[in-house]
């Protein structure tokens, strides 16, 4: 399988139409002077190609904030059919690709989640390179290099054109009608590609040596920093909602006005909320914000015995920029724990 192609930036509108031929395209759209969101787009001019981190990660396309899974009526109950129409998710950066790979593992682990998997299978993922801002630290979390998997196509921005990596046969099929302007990459373009990813690594102004992170989390589980920062936590749950790898949910029934039919919906939930670990009898296993704060960071920076089983932070910086209490500065917290 030919893996590397190149097309000129002037041909991007044609590439966009190629994506549209597969299905509706979701891409980052500027929604304010400082933020972007993945939204359906109908033209190239709507896409914010410079968008760094969208408000919500792309998980929302596969695992919506609220979705009915089961419908019921007097006749019984049945599974709702997930929307499996083909669609394209464009502009996914390396951190978010790594985040999707983690969610894949959670939702595909037996028993697989039918709704998540159906949408994942009907979506073509087209990645896009990016340059970090001071809140980015994907390299520290081991997912900042040039991606090699987790996408159908990945575009690296090479000044005058895009270097295209093909990740799957579906990605290659998309390109096949466009060989007129999407050509196999030449040596100089491959060299430029390598140069881009090398230089990109040098652009990071934040970061830390992440190799020892799980061990440091173990030995510093009682570090005074947890109390100091955790006691400022507002338990608002912003961090879990914007995190590309947070997957916790609640199940809620909604009933029609007649009371005879309704739906059983899945809703995003978060371990930072007070009632998350509450059980009958009003006992709470994580009653304080400090305990919940530590719990979340342990999942992110150390990992749990969940189907993924490893640390789940991908260094996107969303928690940092969305925390109203300013207590999610991982790039400063980790060196402090590490004694640097």
């Amino acid at each position: 399988m030919q893996r590397c192609f190149y097309f000129a930036k002037a041909d991007f509108p044609r590439f966009f139409e190629l994506m549209r031929s597969f299905g509706p395209v979701h891409a980052p759209v500027a929604v304010s002077s400082a933020s972007s969101s993945f939204m359906p787009v109908s033209g190239v001019d709507q896409i914010n190609m410079q968008a760094l981190r969208t408000i919500l990660p792309p998980k929302k396309l596969f695992y919506p904030p609220q979705e009915p899974l089961v419908s019921f009526s007097e006749a019984g109950f049945e599974q709702t059919a997930p929307d499996t129409a083909p669609q394209v998710l464009f502009g996914v950066h390396p951190c978010d690709l790594a985040g999707l790979a983690i969610l894949d593992k959670i939702f595909v682990a037996h028993p697989g989640d039918a709704h998540y998997m159906s949408r994942r299978q009907s979506t073509l993922v087209v990645g896009l390179s990016c340059l970090p801002d001071p809140n980015c630290f994907c390299t520290s979390m081991g997912c900042g290099g040039a991606p090699a998997r987790g996408f159908d196509l990945f575009l690296t921005d090479l000044d005058k054109g895009y270097f295209v990596q093909v990740g799957t046969p579906a990605g290659l099929s998309l390109l096949s009608p466009a060989y007129e302007y999407i050509r196999p990459a030449k040596t100089e373009q491959t060299d430029q590609y390598k140069e881009f990813w090398q230089k990109r690594e040098e652009c990071f102004v934040s970061g830390f040596q992440g190799d020892n992170l799980p061990a440091i989390m173990d030995v510093e589980s009682d570090h005074p920093m947890w109390q100091e920062l955790g006691s400022r936590c507002l338990s608002c749950g912003n961090c879990v909602m914007v995190c590309p790898t947070c997957y916790c949910f609640d199940m809620v029934d909604t009933l029609s006005l007649s009371g005879t039919c309704g739906e059983r919906c899945r809703q995003w939930d978060g371990c930072q909320f007070n009632g998350f670990a509450k059980v009958a009898g009003d006992f709470n296993f994580r009653a304080t914000a400090v305990e919940r704060y530590k719990f979340w960071f342990r999942h992110k920076l150390h990992g749990f015995e969940d189907p993924y089983g490893d640390k789940t932070c991908v260094g996107c910086g969303r928690c940092r920029v969305s925390c109203p209490a300013d207590i999610d500065r991982i790039v400063e917290m980790v060196p402090r724990l590490a004694g640097k």
Partner: protein
């Protein structure tokens, strides 16, 4: 094809066959079902009971064998369980399961087993004692310690009355309040569950199965350790609010372990270093 994938969160149908209030606010339900998977329920495992339009609750299996009828003991305490108490025979519910790791009845084989129950924690242990009594010759000495707030809270009283006639299981019951006017169907001591546990015939090689309110565990564990029982012989059924039962929703994490997968029955030494396992507020 993906469109035909079955959601693991889609329940199967169950029909309420009977409902009986066996103590104030405590109801014993019998549900008939057709999904054969549910027949494999083992003591200590749980199912998800769904009342369409109300919600779903994780409920422990409370019988030793399941066949085609599921027995569940549910205390009226929250939204779903209050609705459940109003159900009528013939009503349709959703059922999923069984989930989790129950009591290790195979590991208990040939050994003496002491069951320690507090409050409605007696329900999952009922599944265990029924199983052990059904396979009585496979086990050595059996002891059942059961503590409650007051004698009127006693669950499965009829069954206890019958068991009290048996010579092959020791019953030790206690009540925190023991007013003289309250009649008890079996002899009962005054005090906490730990008080009767103190007088229970126990040896360090006993296997101990514990289920009760979260606050009970640290006292029971402390007393068992004092009596020389090693951590690897203590099996605790931990209470968590499982929303999915399949390791996805994240609600039942005990530190980093999913209770619905690794538990709800844990061997005590598996909980070492997990600060939130038995401590709560």
């Amino acid at each position: 094809m993906s469109a035909t994938l079955k959601s693991p969160l889609l329940p199967t149908c169950g029909t309420l066959r009977s409902i009986e209030e066996i103590a104030p606010d405590n109801f014993l339900y019998r549900f008939k079902f057709t999904d054969k998977t549910l027949s494999s329920c083992m003591p200590g495992q749980f199912v998800q009971l769904w009342l369409p339009g109300v919600g779903e609750s994780a409920i422990s299996i409370c019988s030793g064998k399941t066949g085609d009828t599921l027995e569940l003991l549910i205390r009226r305490v929250g939204r779903v369980t209050t609705s459940a108490a109003k159900m009528t025979e013939g009503q349709i519910v959703g059922l999923r399961g069984p989930f989790g790791r129950g009591f290790p009845v195979e590991h208990f084989r040939g050994k003496s087993v002491c069951m320690v129950a507090g409050g409605c924690g007696v329900a999952p242990l009922r599944g265990l004692w029924q199983y052990l009594l059904d396979h009585r010759c496979d086990y050595d000495r059996l002891t059942l310690v059961y503590g409650m707030r007051r004698p009127s809270d006693m669950l499965f009283a009829r069954e206890f009355k019958e068991m009290a006639k048996r010579k092959d299981i020791d019953l030790l019951l206690s009540s925190e309040n023991l007013p003289p006017e309250d009649k008890t169907v079996v002899p009962m001591q005054h005090g906490m569950v730990t008080a009767v546990l103190h007088s229970a015939p126990l040896a360090p090689d006993y296997q101990i199965a514990v289920c009760g309110p979260p606050v009970m565990y640290k006292f029971v564990v402390r007393d068992l350790r004092r009596r020389g029982v090693p951590d690897e012989n203590m099996w605790l059924s931990l209470e968590r609010h499982m929303k999915c039962g399949i390791g996805k929703c994240g609600h039942c994490f005990v530190s980093g372990k999913l209770s619905c997968q690794c538990g709800p029955v844990f061997r005590l030494d598996e909980l070492k270093g997990l600060p939130e396992a038995i401590e709560c507020e």
